[in-house]
């Protein structure tokens, strides 16, 4: 048997490997252009009764922050909410909400019903600030290090397994 007889097998195995990896990738997830970049400049008003609002400088005061983009009209946000409540218990991590194109009254009712994990919330009524963050859907979650740099972006709802597999290791890496 000459080696050439195996050529089709080699080519097909290579293709199969490439396509198999492709199966695991989610084409809906767009990689963030802002990783390792400082958070964009913004100044957002608060939810009424939950003053103050949120400005970019709040994220560069040292310490790690998790910025969660959410809305009361967003179904998957309800699914991930228990995970946010869980992460909010972690010491040394500020949980911050970016309320996207929402009615403040409905947003407050959402937090009253499901619990409020956020230390502060900025309300982005027009969605303009979210575009500065490269947001293209809700929910999305960003991890910010102590220097105000974006170190991780998670698109879609956080699942329970994402906390030990993704969030905790990133927090650990960012606090060094």
């Amino acid at each position: 048997m000459r080696w050439q007889s195996f050529l089709p097998l080699i080519v097909v195995s290579f293709l199969a490997a490439v396509l198999f990896v492709g199966l695991e990738l989610d084409p809906k997830i767009v990689p963030s252009a802002l990783i390792d970049k400082p958070v964009p400049q913004f100044d957002l008003p608060p939810l009424p009764g939950k003053e103050p609002g949120l400005i970019a400088a709040d994220l560069a005061r040292g310490g790690i922050s998790l910025v969660n983009v959410w809305a009361s009209w967003c179904g998957p946000c309800r699914i991930e909410h228990p995970q946010l409540m869980e992460i909010a218990k972690i010491e040394g991590v500020r949980m911050i909400g970016l309320n996207y194109k929402d009615d403040p009254a409905k947003a407050l009712a959402f937090l009253q019903q499901l619990g409020d994990p956020y230390e502060s919330v900025g309300t982005d009524r027009t969605g303009r600030v979210a575009i500065e963050w490269g947001v293209y859907g809700v929910p999305e979650t960003f991890l910010i290090d102590g220097h105000g740099r974006i170190v991780l972006k998670h698109v879609g709802p956080l699942r329970p397994e994402d906390i030990p597999e993704k969030i905790l290791p990133a927090i650990q890496a960012a606090s060094q």
Partner: protein, 154 residues
Amino acid sequence: MKRRLVGLAVIFMLMGGSHVYAMAVDAVTLQDPALEARARTIMQGLRCLVCQNQSIEISDAELAGDLRRIVRERVAAGDTDDQVRAHLVARYGDWVLMRPPFKLSTLALWAGPPALLALGGLGLWVGQRRRVRTAPPPLTEAEKAQLQEINTRN
């Protein structure tokens, strides 16, 4: 045969001619038609992040509408086409461009298909040459006689 080809050509021409473009309708557009036309052209090259295979020019997604507003703002503010695109690429990455730029990370994307085509062509050429080279030698006189015998027997 020739008539059929002409018929096919006509069908293709008609298909090309009746191309109707979908277009999203915005309440606010730019007053200056030249600027609006420029903004539209830029929008055609920007990918909608929600629907992914539509440009923001034709997408009905809310985010696409927000991005169209930003494109119009930048154009009205005097940005060049490249500056407008760079503004969105800074936020959403090269992904937002319908036509990805040619660079190291997109090398496989751009060079892959031509490289595969060349490889296939090369394989075909080599195979063809080998087949010619290894063509069987002509029949000897004895073999010819044997063939003749088989043919007459049947």
